[in-house]
């Protein structure tokens, strides 16, 4: 299944769900990554981690590992 961690630079995706078993899932939801939202990969740091996504009109940086709990359509 495709997750936010698989997005390429500049690619967009629509969130289908959040993997609730991930310890960071609650915070991921709280900052605005909810199903139905369109996100875009804005930037990757060196070593391709963390990743910066545009979501709900702001940019949020998350570790790749945490981005993998954001499932995409």
């Amino acid at each position: 299944m495709k997750t936010a961690a698989d997005l390429k630079y500049g690619e967009t995706g629509i969130i289908s769900g959040i993997d609730g078993s991930h310890p960071s899932s609650r915070r991921i939801l709280e900052v605005g990554f909810t199903p139905g939202q369109e996100i875009e990969l804005i930037s990757k740091a060196v070593f391709n981690d963390p990743l910066a996504f545009s979501v709900r009109g702001t940019i949020i940086a998350v570790r790749k590992n945490e981005a993998s709990c954001i499932k995409l359509l």
Binding site: I18, G20, P23, S24, S25, R26, R27, I28, L29, E30, V31, G32, T34, P35, G36, Q37, E38, I42, S43, K44, A45, V46, F47, D49, P50, A52, S54, V55, R56, G57, T58, I59, I60, A61, V62, R63, E66
Partner: protein, 679 residues
């Protein structure tokens, strides 16, 4: 209604997510005339102030740390949330003002909704409406107010538009609540189900959809609600435009977050920060040093060379001076950090360095505190508060004393001048660079080792996480940055000042008593020489020297004697005291211009006991340098470490581990060099 009838101890707490304009509003309400207070026993800082007279309301406003949800994510966040429910000093708030960024409304209403659900008395201050309008949308405060069942007032915290209205509504709410009686807020269950959050967001999206409308060119508004009944459609229709990012920020980030240039610029920014802390502060530091030297000299002249004169001059004035000398560095540090934070860069820097640091158990947010450690460990430890993960924060605090702080510089300068006299100064420079490199390598290695030891040293376990909003780039408001660094600096001195003062007094006592008026033979001596002889005799018979003699067996294996021991003991007040103590012990005359050369001369002459063996050799000097690289000889660092970590466990571990490592390495270096024939 007249304000006089209101109770004058109303407490209004300001709550809001980070970057929601909370602090701007607080500054406006308080007139920037606030005091910073600490939550007892914890690290979370609060600012409290009476609301300015011009608003005609008798109430105090409390600024709390930014949170995004009532469900805590870390122990520090839990403290902020607990304090919101009932602040240990100020109690339960009579009213909560929540700041909500109108252009981020769907994210920021989350906290507002949770507060309302928890039965706080809430009014919403809607900020950045102009930003939303620039995107082509308008927001109806009356619809929001109806949907949320609380008052919503649109404000501009910078210009103050709408703040009068906000205060008026706040007063009405306070009146109303007084009649209906205060209801205690319901504790929020931190273990919320994800479904709850999803439902909450759905509710918020419906509210957003009702309250926000599109502005069209002819000035009429199109109600998009009727057209798009379904949420998903709305997400694809309205949201795409409303969620449009700031284009300038995106362009800047193309460079700032570039894979190669991003990291180059990052190190450049850090290098500039570091050097300016150093070079900008130096002239001011010299000035402070000189002024306190002059004050101390004058005090001794006026009061006379007796015990109280010495106490005032050497104990109090020099003690305060040893704190004040770092003032310029601390102000510059806070200023630069404030500027970096206000522009929005700090968050990006943290993102860029997160991965390498996570390898050794640290976090992207550890880098700035580590860098600050080169100036002084105290503000560096304070700067770790931005690290939400407690384990990573404690690990960062743990290694900060290993960063080569500026107090070590005078010590290295003296020791290197001894090793490389005159024409070999450039070798001293290279060696100094090597010492800095060694401090970076050792701190990174220690972090790696402590991280590998898992729970042996740092027992706290937290899910390591890095989720950070990268705010829109902004031109910093200089007056706010200046004001904040003034308050941070003041808070720092209030906290560290008394400890340093008391400690200076103690060390003065140990070096002055019991033989405070020693009998000396003043025949053939000038008054100055007699004074010098008297103070060195006093020191030789002092409690400190007694202690020094007790630790003689410890000093012998590393090729040193009790005199170095005494200098080392007094260097626990501040590392640079090592230099002045050596000067006292080796009876160096107080002639400013030749102080160092006469000191070096005396050091060359010094022998251990009656053995005729030189005390200061290449081996022992190298050993001393190694000792200063590792040892934690800074009581103020330990005191701040205690305050920041909440117990003595970590500072004591730091002390024993770093100081015994220092001793071990010094032993190896001194005896190793001697075995190789280098004396």
């Amino acid at each position: 209604m007249k304000i006089q009838t209101l109770e004058d101890n109303y407490l209004i707490t300001l709550v809001g997510p980070p970057n929601s304009g909370k602090t701007t509003l607080f500054n406006y309400l308080s007139g920037k005339n606030y005091k910073t207070v600490n939550y007892p026993g914890a690290t979370v800082e609060y600012s409290i102030s009476k609301i300015q007279k011009k608003f005609n309301i008798e109430a105090s406003i409390l600024d709390s740390p930014g949170i995004i949800s009532l469900a805590s994510n870390s122990p520090d966040e839990q403290v902020s949330i607990d304090a919101l429910y009932s602040h240990p000093t100020y109690g339960i708030p009579d009213l909560v003002i929540v700041t909500v960024d109108a252009s981020q409304i769907s994210r920021h209403l989350l906290l507002a909704k949770q507060l309302i659900q928890s039965k706080f008395k809430v009014i919403i201050a809607l900020t950045m409406v102009d930003l939303l309008q620039r995107k082509g949308f308008n927001v109806s405060t009356s619809v929001l107010s109806e949907e949320l069942n609380c008052d919503v007032i649109s404000i501009d915290g910078r210009s103050g538009n709408g703040v009068d209205e906000l205060i008026k509504v706040a007063e009405q709410n306070l009146q109303k609540n007084r009649i209906t009686g205060a209801e205690k807020p319901i504790p929020f269950d931190s273990n919320v189900k994800l479904e709850y959050l999803l439902d909450l967001y759905k509710e918020i999206e419906q509210i957003e959809c009702k309250a926000i409308s599109k502005v069209v060119d002819n000035g009429k508004q199109i109600d998009i609600n009727g057209a798009n009944k379904r949420l998903v459609l709305l997400n694809n229709g309205l949201d795409r435009k409303i969620n449009k990012l700031d284009q300038t920020s995106l362009k800047i980030d193309k460079i700032m977050l570039h894979k190669v240039w991003g990291i180059v610029l990052f190190f450049l920014a850090m290098a500039i920060t570091f050097t300016s802390i150093f070079w900008l502060a130096q002239p001011v530091m010299n000035l402070v040093d000189k002024s306190f030297g002059y004050l101390s000299y004058e005090a001794l002249n006026i009061l006379g060379n007796n015990w109280y004169g010495s106490f005032i001059a050497n104990g109090i004035i020099s003690g305060v001076g040893s704190v004040m000398i770092f003032n310029p560095q601390i102000i510059i540090l806070f200023l630069i950090l404030g500027l970096l934070e206000d522009t929005g860069y700090l968050a990006r820097g943290a993102m860029l360095i997160d991965k390498p640091l996570s390898k050794i158990g640290l976090n992207g947010r550890s880098f700035v505190p580590m860098l600050s450690g080169f100036a002084c460990a105290i503000p560096a430890m304070l700067a770790t508060r931005t690290i939400p993960n407690r384990r990573e924060r404690l690990l960062t605090i743990f290694i900060i004393p290993l960063m080569s702080c500026s107090a070590r510089l005078p010590v290295y300068a003296l020791l290197l001048a001894f090793l490389f006299p005159g024409d070999k100064e450039w070798i001293a420079g290279i060696t100094l660079a090597g010492i800095y490199l060694l401090s970076i390598i050792s701190s990174v290695s220690v972090a790696g080792i402590v991280n590998k030891l898992k729970n042996k040293i740092i027992t706290d376990e937290d899910q390591s996480s890095f989720i950070l909003e990268l705010p829109t780039y902004r031109i910093p408001k200089v007056s706010n940055v200046l004001n904040n660094s003034y308050h941070s600096t003041k808070a720092y001195f209030k906290k560290a000042g008394p400890i340093i003062l008391v400690l200076s007094g103690v060390i003065w006592f140990l070096t002055y008593f019991p033989d405070y008026n020693p009998k000396i033979n003043t025949v053939n001596l000038t008054r100055e020489q007699a004074g010098e002889l008297q103070s060195s005799t006093r020191l030789a018979n002092s409690y400190a020297s007694g202690l020094g003699k007790i630790i003689q067996p410890v000093m012998s294996p590393i090729g040193m004697d009790w005199r170095v021991g005494v200098a080392l003991i007094s260097s626990f007040a501040a590392r640079e005291v090592f230099v002045s103590s050596l000067a006292l012990i080796f009876k160096v005359a107080g002639d400013e211009s030749t102080l160092q050369s006469s000191m070096l001369h005396e050091m060359h002459k010094a022998t251990i006991g009656n053995t005729g063996q030189s005390l200061f050799t290449t081996a022992t000097i190298a050993g001393l340098i190694i000792f200063f690289v590792f040892a934690l000889q800074c009581m103020s660092s330990m005191a701040v470490s205690r305050k920041e970590t909440g117990s003595w466990r970590l500072p004591l571990l730091q002390f024993f581990i770093f100081t015994s490592t220092a001793y071990l390495f010094t032993f190896i270096v001194v005896n190793g060099l001697r075995a190789m024939g280098i004396n």
